[in-house]
């Protein structure tokens, strides 16, 4: 079990990170990722005998972005023609059950559970439920995300996804 100072620092980092998303501060959010980040959300199926059946590295994914394409998504979201988020959704991120493991010199592995609530237009309400497995790298007094693996518990996504996790 890591120390509580580290726990505190990481939790604050995670809270701030998702707050940037709900405040639509996408560019600042992207700055929290390292240049070589893999932003990956593998597909998931119910496969007999494989409880946590996630798609593999070169199999189906929902997201498999590098920083450049994350930037492209953000550039798109800034366009008035990005209809899926025009007007923008109201997003709420519940980050919980944060668990940390040291991963060598200046890196740590961080798991958390994530409930993302999306409210848009008059009455569209969607909830995404799952977990995240991040690799964070120390950056001065804070952190950068070097790998993000997002695993939804839903095998049927409630709506097409126009939000980040």
């Amino acid at each position: 079990m890591v120390g509580h100072e580290l726990q505190h620092s990481v939790e604050q980092f995670l809270y701030r990170e998702v707050r940037l998303l709900s405040e639509l501060r996408y560019e600042e959010w992207l700055d929290l990722f390292t240049d070589e980040v893999r932003y990956w959300m593998p597909a998931r199926e119910t496969i007999a005998g494989q409880p946590d059946a996630l798609a593999g590295d070169s199999e189906m994914a929902y997201f498999d972005d590098d920083k450049a394409f994350l930037a492209a998504r953000i550039e798109r979201l800034r366009s008035p023609l990005a209809h899926a988020e025009q007007p923008p959704s109201r997003l709420r991120y519940f980050v919980s059950n944060v668990e940390i493991e040291e991963a060598g010199e200046d890196e740590i592995d961080v798991r958390c559970n994530l409930l993302v609530y999306q409210s848009r237009l008059e009455r569209t309400e969607v909830s995404y439920v799952g977990r995240r497995e991040d690799r964070l790298r120390r950056a001065g007094s804070s952190w950068r995300v070097t790998t993000r693996k997002i695993i939804l518990d839903q095998t049927l996504v409630p709506r097409s996804i126009s939000v980040f996790f």
Binding site: T46, R76, L81, A82, V157, I161
Partner: protein, 434 residues
């Protein structure tokens, strides 16, 4: 007057908004369209080994697709003949037989009822097992590894159903060195819209590209994949093509145009990829007449009723988008990514990643489509809105274009709405069939 004439006014280019909402029309669709048309079930590469299986839907009926010990693929209603339990609750796996979790009736993956608990003791001679195998989909045909089933034992053959579409599909299929394979995994998502809104969109709605996807085309999406089309507006040598049985294709261009784009794009990835593209082209030339081979790749299209797909390039994914009906105003979309089994790894990765980024659940194109499909639904359900028609008048009264010789289908400009009318005209014919 045929019942459907109230809804589809072909000559005027108008379609009543009612057919996207009325629960009775929806029920009739399930009976007259989904229980009578050839429907997509998945791809053989998803179940390569004997015993492999996957689940699917035809209309709202759950289906179990199995490859038997003999290698034959069969499809069944995924519902126990005893008292209806879903026989297989996994999405996929491998099994020689399926034992129902309710009372334990056991079916071979060939469908027959193998055993029932306490068999002789419980049933004596009173159960004729031969009559109580899983209900098999009477017609199942594979084309290019794509599996299609039809509930209507008297239905025309898949070939006849594909009709003119076959000529174009052959281009997509023949181009593959190792044949199409689906990468493992499926994406599924719900959207609150009628299934026809999405299907017609792929059947012919090129007109929505510049505005619906303006934010995407503003990006340099060649950065995702150099073979990505920079959006082209009206362009004499791109066609939308309306095909018999309601199928529709968009953005078909002849004379190796798409091949040239690929070859150019391939250079960014080095010799291996260039050779691959050339090899694909060679295969086509060997397999097909020159004018057909010159099509090289397709754009986005819809196979009636609800299988949309796209195939822009040998360097991009073959996307399959199945719009499963789940009520008058609800779709469950299943997406798969097809690639050439023998493509170089660099191409496979390129295609896979491209798939996630453009037309998938998180794709920068699909997001905006969903928003539109859902809000069309929201905005048209009121009693006043329901009195109106949708407008497909862009080409009403316009003569079809002359396509190149010996190429099937009714040719229309790249930006046109005739394919949608072609879709609804066939819908109407099926709707009125006894």
């Amino acid at each position: 007057m045929e019942q459907s004439e109230r809804y589809v006014k072909f000559e005027e280019g108008l379609v009543s908004r009612k057919i996207f909402f009325d629960p009775e029309i929806y029920q009739a669709e399930l009976e007259r369209i989904f229980a009578r048309c050839w429907l997509f079930l998945g791809h053989e590469s998803q179940i390569p080994e004997p015993g492999d299986y996957m689940t699917a839907y035809m209309g709202e009926d759950p289906i179990l697709v199995c490859r038997g010990a003999d290698g034959t693929v069969r499809a069944f209603l995924n519902s126990c003949r005893h008292r209806g339990m879903r026989v297989c609750r996994a999405d996929r796996g491998n099994a020689r037989q399926f034992t129902c979790s309710f009372h334990g009736w056991t079916y071979a993956n060939s469908g027959e009822l193998r055993g029932v608990p306490l068999g002789q003791d419980a049933y004596g001679e009173r159960l004729n097992k031969a009559e109580w195998g899983l209900l098999e989909v009477p017609k199942l045909t594979s084309y290019g590894g794509m599996l299609f089933g039809n509930w209507d034992a008297g239905a025309e053959s898949l070939d006849d159903f594909l009709g003119e579409l076959r000529w174009y599909l052959d281009v997509m299929v023949e181009r593959q060195i190792g044949g199409i394979e689906f990468i493992p995994g499926v994406q599924r998502y719900s959207l609150d819209a009628n299934w026809k809104i999405a299907s017609e969109n792929f059947a012919g709605d090129t007109y929505h590209l510049p505005y619906s996807h303006g934010s995407m085309f503003k990006l340099d999406i060649r950065q995702i994949n150099p073979a990505n089309p920079s959006f082209r507006g009206k362009d004499a040598d791109y066609y939308n093509i309306g095909l018999d049985n309601g199928h529709g294709m968009t953005g078909i261009v002849f004379g190796d145009e798409r091949y040239r784009v690929d070859l150019e794009a391939a250079k960014e990835y080095g010799a291996e990829v260039v050779e691959y593209v050339e090899e694909c082209h060679q295969r086509l030339i060997k397999a097909l007449p020159k004018h057909q081979a010159g099509v090289y790749a397709l754009s986005f299209s819809n196979m009636f009723p609800n299988l949309s797909f796209n195939d822009f390039s040998a360097l991009r994914p073959i996307g399959f988008y199945l719009w499963l009906p789940k009520g008058p105003s609800r779709i469950e979309a299943w997406n798969w990514c097809g690639i050439d089994r023998d493509a170089p790894k660099v191409v496979k990765d390129l295609a896979r990643v491209d798939f996630t980024r453009i037309q998938s659940v998180t794709g920068i194109a699909a997001q905006d489509d969903t928003e539109n499909f859902e809000q069309v639904t929201e905005a048209t359900r009121g009693v006043v809105g329901q009195r109106l028609d949708f407008n497909y008048q862009m080409n009403v009264g316009q003569a079809p274009l002359d396509g190149p010789d010996d190429c099937p289908g009714r040719f229309a400009p790249y930006i046109s709405e005739t394919n949608q009318l072609n879709f609804y005209q066939h819908w109407a014919a099926l709707f009125d069939a006894p």
